[in-house]
């Protein structure tokens, strides 16, 4: 006899309740629909078992965990440089942002700090990966709602950013550029000028998306007032990142936390939105792309000269201890708990 976990029992009870409700006041034949993980809207990460009454979802159970890749276990048997290469893969769209907090945690353990130029470049690349990530989100948002054009624009303009990242790091998706104590290499010549051009293009892209998608009444009617998360609920549920700011909570780790990154050198605005609905969340992200382009512009102008690597032993030996570093990643807050 198979033992049901408590969670399975709960979901079974909920399913029964939904059935009972359908039976009492059913208009049509109820239908249990399985959405995902092969569904185009879920990208293999999520499965939702939905019970429909006509067009209305009366009950749904999300079943997550398809993306669990066991990083914790993998990292147990690898060296720090190897782990850095793996960490790249956590969020494919904004890889560089994955590396930074891990490296920072390791540096914390080793009690070293990267030189200022490295910090600057890290921040630039960090924001570039934010742009690459969120701009694709903005385009893909359209596709999920049936608009085909925004995603192509997003891909088009993300390509410039990826080219930048590739030009600097050599890797389009997985830079693996960060090293404990600094960066692998300095920027190639001409990169900064190109970046300036690309940032202009991306601001233009934001305008286009705003006209094409965000200003569209249909889009607004589909997102405004949908999935409202009030500020207190958002705090209770521990939301972070743009989602939290869309609920009106002014909270941004880039500004509120001091890490060895160059955020304190730039002037940027943390956007919040009082509505807390889907539209607010999208809008916040759009504004953050804009803001990121401005941050990059400012950092380029103030890039200090100097080395990009401090002195570190050739064989990295991280002393025993533990460290926790979290940053404001493109999607949300990400933190690494490193135990050596």
């Amino acid at each position: 006899m198979t033992m049901l976990s408590e969670r399975q029992q709960m979901s079974y009870i909920a399913a029964q309740a939904a059935d009972a409700r359908l039976n009492v006041e059913l208009e049509t034949e109820g239908m249990t629909l399985n959405i995902g993980p092969q569904h185009p809207a879920t990208h293999g990460t999520l499965r939702i078992i939905a019970r429909l009454d006509g067009e209305q979802v009366v009950w749904a159970e999300p079943s997550a965990g398809y993306m669990h890749r066991g990083y914790e276990k993998l990292t147990e048997v690898r060296t720090f440089p190897q782990v850095t290469a793996l960490i790249n893969r956590i969020d494919w769209l904004g890889s560089f942002a994955n590396e930074v907090p891990f490296i920072l945690a390791a540096e914390q353990l080793m009690d070293i700090e990267a030189p200022p130029r490295a910090q600057h470049i890290r921040t630039i690349l960090f924001e570039l990966s934010r742009i690459a990530n969120v701009s694709l989100f903005l385009g893909d948002l359209g596709v999920q709602m049936g608009a085909v054009t925004p995603v192509f624009m997003a891909f088009r303009d993300r390509e410039y950013v990826l080219n930048l990242i590739e030009g600097a790091t050599g890797g389009r998706f997985h830079p693996n550029f960060d090293r404990i104590g600094g960066l692998k290499d300095d920027l190639p010549k001409g990169w900064l000028d190109e970046t300036r051009q690309v940032m202009k293009k991306l601001r233009n892209f934001c305008d286009e998306i705003e006209d094409l998608l965000f200003g569209n009444e249909i889009f607004q009617s589909r997102t405004r007032g949908i999935g409202v998360i009030p500020a207190d609920v958002a705090r209770q549920y521990g939301l972070s990142g743009a989602n939290l700011r869309a609920s009106g909570v002014d909270w941004d780790l880039r500004r509120d936390q001091s890490l060895p990154l160059a955020y304190d050198k730039v002037d940027f605005r943390v956007w919040t939105h009082p509505d807390g609905d889907s539209w607010a969340r999208c809008w916040i992200r759009l504004q953050e792309v804009r803001e990121a382009t401005k941050i990059v512009d400012q950092l380029i102008e103030t890039l200090p000269p100097g080395p990009v690597m401090t002195k570190v032993p050739r064989i990295i030996k991280v002393p025993e201890g533990e460290a926790w570093v979290s940053t404001e990643k493109p999607l949300c807050e990400i933190g690494y708990y490193v135990f050596s």
Partner: protein, 99 residues
């Protein structure tokens, strides 16, 4: 063309519809049989209109069509309600009015 052609065709359709009303168990199919009956009536109306060369028959056929549409609407709504309450639309299980 002979008038008999239309009339006999209508009569046959009518009888088939009557059989459907009597024999079918599923409420939706009974409604469909009723549509058959209504259409046979319409055929007659058109045939007679052709016989008299007057538009009245056409007008009546249109009335019948409109009423049939209304009937189907209400009928199907009732079927849905019966289904909602009883999880079945078999007519012989619906014998609440049994004497």
């Amino acid at each position: 063309m002979y008038a008999v052609n239309f009339l006999i065709l209508a009569a046959v359709l009518f009888s088939i519809g009557v059989f459907g009303v009597i024999a079918r168990r599923n409420a939706v199919m009974v409604l469909m049989s009723i549509e058959l009956i209504l259409n046979s009536v319409n055929l007659n109306l058109i045939a007679f209109a052709m016989m008299n060369n007057s538009p009245e028959g056409h007008v009546f056929a249109l009335y019948v069509i409109a009423v049939a549409a209304a009937e189907v609407g209400v009928g199907l709504a009732m079927v849905l309600m019966i289904y909602r309450n009883r999880r079945s639309i078999a007519l012989d299980e619906l014998s609440v009015m049994k004497g």
